[in-house]
Amino acid sequence: MYLKRIALKRFGALDQQTYTFRPGLNLIKGPNEAGKSTLQAALLFGLFGNPQHTTLQRVKHVDDYTSWGATGSFHITLDIADGAETTYRVEKDWASGDARLIALGSDTVVTGVDAVQQRLNKMLGYGAVKIFQSTACVEQNAVDDLTAGQRTITDQLQRIVTGGGEAKASDALAKLEQEIGTLKKGWKTFAPKHPGPIKRQQDDIARLEERLSTIRAQVRQAEDAGERLGDLEAQIDDLTEKLKARRALRASCDRRFELEDELEERKAQEQKLEARVAQIQQLQEQLVGTEEASRAGGRGQSRLPWITLLGFAAGFLLSLIGLAIGLLRSSVLGLLVGLPGLLIGAGSFVWLVIILVRSQSGDPQTTLRAKLDALLEERPLEAWIEERKEASRQRRDLEETLAEPEMQQAAQVTPVEYETLKQEIARLEEQLEAKEQERIRQEARRDDTTYTLEDVHRLEEQKAAAERALERLKDRLTVYELTYEVLEQAQQETMRSARDELEPKIGQHLRCITHGRYEQVEASDDLALSIFSAEKGSWIDADDGELSRGTIDQLYLAARLALIDLLYQEAQPPLLMDDPFVTFDPQRRQAALRLCREIAQTHQVLFFTCHDGYDGIATEVIAL
């Protein structure tokens, strides 16, 4: 195929411009800023652009190429001759977003952006502008970079065979390998000092798990202790209640015993008082009777002591007289006088004693009074009566108290039961003491940790987040490994296949270009080229700097052509050369131009330059 014509409307500085091309080498010549780059862009938009998109490969923006002041976006018309010499007119309009393909000289019209592009792609071989650019477009510095050592032919070929862009499959694989290595560092292997993210995440999770386990156990212990405390408090309350009831019963029993004893005492006291009061009253009555009797015969009794005194005195006197007579006159007479006196005196004395004794004990009134006084104890009878009444009242009070239900209940307790009750109280006290001790222990267990359920939740949430992150890292690793595995396979298969196909094709093109000087080319699996130098009789590595610059140019262009053959097969897209030899010295430039002319035998070449001097070799010269 070849381009016959391009007509532009509102396309940058080339508004309303039409350019006609021919098969062979078309020289598009003009000074800087004349529009060579604009025309190259127009060709790319025309061949590959989608009028419904605002960019071309997201690099070239439609607005940047629309003429200043234009009312709408640009319009491009391309006339393309295919191998069968049929000319197709392709119209793409970015103002309306439409595209149309007309087979000139026939009724065939294809409309619609996608349908038109499909037809175009078929003619071009591929619809990928990037691949077209990397193969059919030779940019200004591409060749010069090779000879300047900034890039190698191998690099260039690898980039093109990778995907047409700047990336190389080997670089992509290296990056992946590095990332995989970083991710896996220390995972399932010896842990280095600085492990990778997966290992770090795993370690974090393990630490969180360990911490969670500890805290969870502590919180569980505190919770269990709390629950146990709840139970204990209920048990303690129950025991306390039971103990309280038992103690109350025992107290009732004890109280009853005391009251019963007291009642007995009260009763005895009451009886005594009653007896005393009765005695007093009886004595008083007797005394009254005795006093009445003594008032009747009281006189004789009152004189009796005087008689005895007189008798005593007479006896004493007679005794004295008898003594005196006995001493003075006759002892017999004295004895006769004194002895009766002694007898009278002694008799009086005895009588007096009897009277006195009788007056002391034997007098009923006195005795009664004495008894009465002893009973009254210097208190009036009324006081004793009152005391007796008080004792009765107290006795009744006690009886009433003992009749109360509590005392009645206590009365039901037999002595054996009372003993059992005492034992039960002792047992309950023991149990209560044990529960209290247990409560203290459980409180200590409960208060043993400062962690709470909130801490457990917080750690669980952190762990969940860490686990999610770990899963994503592992997923990422799986994806990286799969990418690496498949990419490596793709690279090996593609490079091998490319090598097999490129090797002879490069040789063919090189032989053609160099008029047979070089014809043997070898390519390695990574597309490193070597050519056989008949002069030296050896193989020379294309990248090691031994080849002359001219040979490198030739080899590179031969490789480009071989790639075009490889990728485009039957389709032969036009080659766009953007003054690639601008930095060459005149001799080298002439050689390169001859090379272009050779190439133009099979491919249409659109050669953009700002230099004169190429006109002689061009099939068509287009001045901008």
Partner: protein, 364 residues
């Protein structure tokens, strides 16, 4: 006429593993929202507060939470009816056995609590086991001699799209319950499930407890009068949750981030699902996306369900003779032969990553 505030599924002290470090904030938010509900019950002239199950997320809530709940309820002048749900069921270790709540916890099966002052009775069966399969409405009938009969039921109303086995509430049972109002609990979105003459509503959770609970954040304001039963949702939640399905066909990574950021809200839990067909070589790093947008949301979770535009592989951009084309075709075969969705997704991600690398994009 009685005015009731009906809530449920507060799930105090729930762990929120999906929220990660933000879970603590959300638990605090739940406690605050519950206190706000109690405050509202006090100040807005309600006569009765119904809690239709799952006040707590478990029977082991934190003591501080118990104290706060207990204190809040003690300050209420109106009666409260608490129905144990499946999360805080009335089993041997129930929180309701350990803590004395100021008002009516429904522990008997069934429990009938009458409020003569309101001329109203509340009926309910507590959930006795977390895995209870019993009908929450069983044995409930309007037996009290009052004008208004209200039931609380914690369970699942039968729905054609749900296979309900636990705590089933049949629609016929609702319809024939004879109740004026059935306060439903267990589901987290406000919803009307009235049947026949019986008005029945799920109040939903006052705050979302999981992503996707778009109907959470309400209590039910229930007014009973001779005209009938009026139920209105009352917004109490501060956090909302939403789902965004974003078709990222033709989007760049920056455009995807911009599209999500349009929904930015610091009180929003947003679940984003990316769908559509992405250009080959578009690597969606969800970790990076979530991290970049996290400050704009309460919580953001992104899921990638987009697929690479496999048709593009056949097109001219990926000639088989180039590594990129070969790789794309090999990966395409992996995707097509994947035995699980997970495997397919990983193969798709590998395809996108490989293409991006081969196109020279900085994606690692």
């Amino acid at each position: 006429m009685p005015k009731i505030i009906h809530t449920s599924d507060v799930q105090l002290d729930a762990p929120f593993r999906f929220l990660g470090p933000r879970g603590e904030d959300h638990r605090a938010q739940l406690r605050e929202t519950f206190e706000h509900i109690v405050e509202m019950a006090q100040q807005d002239g309600f006569d009765l507060l119904l809690i239709a199950g799952d006040l707590f997320d478990s029977n082991r809530p934190h003591q501080t939470t118990l104290d706060r709940v207990s204190m809040a309820l003690r300050q209420l002048d109106i009666p409260v009816c608490i129905l144990p749900g499946n999360h805080d069921c009335y089993d041997d270790v129930s929180v309701y056995r350990r803590v004395l709540f100021p008002d009516h916890v429904f522990t008997e099966q069934p429990t009938v609590q009458t409020f003569p002052g309101l001329d109203l009775a509340v009926y309910g069966n507590p959930i006795r086991s977390a895995r209870s399969q019993q009908d929450p409405l069983r044995d409930l009938s309007p037996s009290a001699d009052v004008r208004w009969h209200v039931a609380m039921a914690h369970g699942n109303v039968d729905r054609p799209d749900l296979d309900v086995t636990s705590r089933p509430i049949r629609r016929e049972a609702l319809r024939d319950s004879g109740m004026d109002y059935v306060a439903l609990g267990d589901w987290h979105s406000f919803a009307d499930y009235s049947e026949g003459d019986v008005t029945a509503y799920y109040a939903g959770a006052p705050e979302p407890t999981a992503l996707g609970q778009t109907g959470a954040g309400y209590v039910a304001r229930v007014e009973l009068d001779e005209r009938g039963v009026q139920v209105h949702p009352e917004r109490v939640g501060t956090i909302t949750t939403d789902e965004l399905t974003l078709d990222v066909t033709g989007y760049t990574r920056v455009e995807i981030a911009q599209a999500i950021r349009q929904h930015a809200d610091p009180h929003l839990m947003l679940q984003v699902t990316l769908t559509g067909l992405t250009d080959l070589g578009t690597v969606l790093d969800l970790d990076a996306l979530e991290e970049r947008l996290a400050p704009d949301f309460y919580h953001l979770a992104c899921t990638d369900q987009s697929h690479p535009q496999l048709e593009a592989i056949a097109a001219a951009d990926y000639p088989e003779e180039l590594v990129i084309g070969k790789f794309a075709r090999l990966m395409q075969a992996h995707i097509e032969q994947a035995e699980s969705e997970n495997e397919q997704r990983r193969a798709e991600q590998a395809l996108q990553l490989g293409i991006a690398l081969l196109e020279g994009k900085e994606v690692l």
